[in-house]
Amino acid sequence: MNIWHIEVFNKEGVGDVVGLQLLRDIKELGIDGVERVCFKQVYLLEGEYSAGDIEKIAQRFLADPICQEFSVESLDEKAAVLPKDTARTHTVEIAYNPGVMDPWEETIGKGIIDLGCKEARSVKTIKKYVMEGSISSETLDTICDELLYNKLIQHRIRSSEKSDIEFLHSIPEYTFSLITVDLLSAANEELLAISKNAQLYLSLDEMKAIQAHFVRLGRNPTDCEIETIAQTWSEHCCHKTFRAAIEMEDRQIDNLLKSTVMKVTKELNKEWCLSVFKDNAGIIAFDEKNAIAVKVETHNHPSALEPYGGASTGIGGVIRDILGAGLGARPIANTDVFCFAPFDIPAQEIPGGVLHPRRIIKGVVSGVRDYGNRMGIPTVNGAVLFDKQYLGNPLVYCGTIGIMPKDMCTKKVDPGDVIIAVGGRTGRDGIHGATFSSGELTSSTKETLSGAVQIGNPIAEKKVLDVLLAARDRGLYKAITDCGAGGFSSAVGELGEETGAEVHLEKVPLKYAGLTYTEMWISESQERMVLAAAPDKAAELIELFAKEDVEATCIGTFTDDKRLKLYYNDNLVCDLDMEFLHRGMPRVRRTARWKVPRKTPLCLRASFSEYGSFILKTLAHPNVCSKEWIIRQYDHEVQAGTVSKPLVGARNDGPSDAAVMRPLFHSRRGIAVANGINSKYGIYDPYWMAASNIDEAIRQQVAVGADFEKIALLDNFCWGNPEDPYILGSLVRAAEACYDIARGFGCPFISGKDSLYNEYVSDRKKVSIPGTLLITSIGIVDDVGKAVSMDFKKPGDYVYIIGETRNELAGSAFCDVAGLSGGEVPRVDVARARITMEKLSQAIRTGIVSAAHDCSDGGLAVAVCEMAMAGEVGADIDLGSAPCFSDITQGYEVLFSESNSRFIVSVPAESSGEFERLLGDVKFGLLGRTKAEPDVRFISLDKAQNITLTLADIRHAWKSTLDWQ
């Protein structure tokens, strides 16, 4: 057996985009010594190949005959050690750690067989960078650490490639031995030690409940049983905090989830809510025949450690939620929201072990890009927030929307049904903590967390998707769920909760030998689904998958004994009572505290003429500025159903409020997707933050023309440690606002998620993220032909502001740029807001509105500037015409206040009468008219002064901040 080393690189004169990009990134790090970078892609092929075979593989497959050259060596002949770097040339080779899936391995294997060559025993890809210039080895290390690899999944080849590949084959075969955990005799400290050492994250109460259960059974649990319980009882799987008994100041909250978000839905009892809070996604009716499934997930910790892998598996996971909702929906759109630390933080302010925000941003964006684009799902909407407190713990929210037949919204498992695992194979990637790393890595790897880090393989998931929907339509299975956190343990445990299940773990297809029975059971390897099929359909189902090269394997059956039984080659390794597993967890009790923050007044001393520069600075604020650099890397038009794209207007560069999708070719019915998020308000009051986010998510729906009566919401709470009473108190405040405000609007929640313990402990202190609530909204647009975009359309239209402005600047983008704090945080007068939304929604849907934009970050000033810029149409805006509450006295308050429930709308002059009539008693003001001159003129409250900003200046300010290469 030979190992061949094939190196592919660009021909002289072709240009090396990868090398040039790296050179730019190195310069960005402040390193000047490197003059030139050359990138080479290396392939290590192991198999019975002749030199001729390898020549053919390289020439016809691995190298592009037009632009690339290659060199081939047998590793036996190749020098055992890397070529010594000279003073001017430095070579770095980066490979995946053993056990980390190389996404190219499978496809390269296929490509080799297509050429008529024998199957490869192993395939490994290596990225090789040759840097020229005078740099020290420390500088080279910095370049590698910052730009070229992540120790959690990759390593620098130090000794030789051969030892690298041979290591892969050194994994010992697994020999079975049953492991039990001595729980019966354990004292409290020992119970806690067991929980800690095995990374079960179970509390003493929980460990004692498990102990008591096994004392009753008169035996010790197996490792597999303990792991299964830990997975099932984890915060991730069962939302302990949200279901806890909470003592909040003087009141008792029995179950936060049921008493807030779920209560809204229950009380509203909308007939179009088809499946809520019970499946992998919330499901609402779309039309007579179809339903829409929506889910938003978070993938924060993995993204902090390995941004690319974390974000890509995050999007991969939420797509599987949609495939596993009901009997499976076809994904039609993705939405992504990120919270990062400011990207211009100096490197010396980054605590140890934390990646620089710029690297996190680039990694996360490319992770979402590569997975979403490859899945063929348009990423149509999103948001990005910057705040220093996200430094050690960024937030990555990934959402997917799917469409499915209405009569496939539910699943059913019957005893006797076969359990079928579909998709990717199971490996050690994704086992909490128990990572599989080469010798040189162990000393430096964060062992406890690296198990959470994986790289996705979108094509594996796409293949599953393609066959799955065909199998669904043929009625070949009865239930489905995704293998997410907890792996088979969670998937089979959930599907078999009411029946019982028996699984034969030796049947699980593995990526490589050596996994223990417990590892097979709890591995979180990506791209896997679990199906329940009637026994007479199983063969047809498996064959259908095989036709498109997707592995489907029968691993067990659902039983009627309400027990979870696992075997490994006839050895019983787990025998748990489903009732205990799912309902045996002791109730969590927590204390919450809330202190009303002290209010401080806000005051700006500036003349009206200075406001102009504040407007431009606010437009350039990272939370407000154009995200075009990100948006254009996402395919937002695949499937050809994106009717209102994320960027709209005359030059396709205006920020759309909600994206509008048309999921069926033959129908003009559409859906709108939007997000409301602003964590800065939460510093002042999490209640009003939640209220504002809900208002924003609904506002954006109304602005594009969605039916206000059919807007569904999703909540997504990312908070710090809920064991801190004040952090929990703020969470409770936010959840309570969700009830009050959503109930007031009449908009039900259909699904939600919480991610707690978002904090980073650096050398000296603990930094908690600001409590961050993402509200995602889904609306129905009866006729996409009536959807409205935010860009002004033509000169001469009337420009209105809808809703009343209050002096609410606390947490605003303006305060950030002006260096101010204090003031009042935006509130929601929900009774009034509801009428505003209803009336405006009706008016927009009559088709008389030419443009509508919601007033959010940056207030009226930003909204008007964006509309003018996007439309290439100017406007004269009289600030004195905006309806204001009595607390407004200054022009900047009107310009920048972020009061909720407000819109800027333009209406053709001839329709203005009808528009005003339709608004009825909703407060509105006629701000002025659009004009052909390419500028926006704001007239002061006393009409004595004005500021004029050209559209060119507006565009420049708005687009420069994130104009990355």
Binding site: P65, I66, E548, Q639
Partner: protein, 288 residues
């Protein structure tokens, strides 16, 4: 009696993702589309003979691992090439869009200036080094190309691109001059008024602003922009601003393909042109 309808095969492999909208575009143009997995052809369960048009849609076949479209290109070249060449020789049509274009180029079917299906060009990483989704203006060069797919398209059209590897390069100057000489250049990136321009007018740095080419027969078209994403009025990125609601610029390309088959193969098969035309009209009305 033989059924007189244009039949399109939209080819699918692992990672194809523009198959449904491409099939729909052909249906809007009056054809009947069927989406077929490549394994069906490789296993000989189905044959290309059943179809008049082969469409290789966009996507990331096999993840675009190694290089975009390469694995599917080799799969066609080493498993189905005889069938494909016969298909073209019989006067049938092929269109490759985005990833499909990459497949056609990397299998040697395009541009094939020498007529031996050797690889003469490639589509490589954009100059920007990243995937980009944006709308571009395209102009057919003068004199009008020999391509049957772009018959009658003379003005500047507007379509989206969405790719990371779309920079068109050729083996040497001879290939480029032959491409020009043979009128095989079908579309060039341009400004709204038809003149050349730097990025983002040319979104990827393609040689000579080339966005699409055809083979010497004019029956195989490959292009990076997505005509199937501009079929209806609502695909236009700022349709909200347009008063006249007309069909999308991309539909014409599919209609040309369908009409070519109607006028050639179907006409020969039926000997009755009027029937073919009627059939097409009915199909058109149905889809409106």
């Amino acid at each position: 009696m033989k059924e007189l309808i244009v039949k399109t095969c939209v080819l699918r492999a692992a990672g194809t993702n523009c198959d449904r909208e491409t099939a729909y575009a052909f249906e809007r143009a009056g054809a009947r589309s069927e989406i077929i997995h490549i394994n069906q052809f490789v296993s000989r369960t189905r044959t290309l003979n059943e179809f008049h048009i082969l469409a290789i849609p966009g996507g990331f076949t096999y993840g675009d691992d190694v290089s975009s479209g390469k694995i599917l290109a080799n799969e066609l070249k080493y498993n189905l090439f005889d069938d494909i060449r016969r298909f073209v020789e019989q006067g049938r049509l092929i269109i490759g869009i985005c990833n499909g274009f990459q497949v056609l180029v990397k299998s040697g079917l395009l541009p094939d200036v020498a007529g031996d299906c050797e690889i003469e060009a490639s589509l490589v990483l954009n100059n920007s080094g990243k995937f980009e989704d944006c709308w571009v203006y395209l102009k057919p060069p003068r004199p009008i190309t020999r391509c049957v797919w772009t018959n009658g398209i003379e003005r500047v059209i507007y379509l989206p691109v969405a790719h990371g590897e779309g920079k068109f390069v050729v083996k040497g100057n001879t290939v480029l001059s032959l491409l020009k000489e043979n009128n095989q250049i079908v579309f060039r990136y341009c400004t709204p008024d038809g003149s050349p321009g730097p990025f983002p007018v040319n979104p990827n740095g393609s040689l000579d602003d080339i966005a699409g080419i055809c083979d010497p027969t004019g029956r195989i078209l490959g292009m990076m922009p997505h005509p199937e994403r501009h079929i209806t009025f609502f695909h236009h990125p700022h349709w909200h601003r347009c008063s006249e609601r007309k069909q999308g610029d991309g539909l014409n390309i599919f209609e040309n393909g369908v009409q070519y088959i109607q006028k050639t193969i179907l006409t020969q098969e039926s000997g009755d042109i009027s029937q073919v035309a009627d059939n097409a009209n009915i199909k058109n009305q149905m889809s409106k």
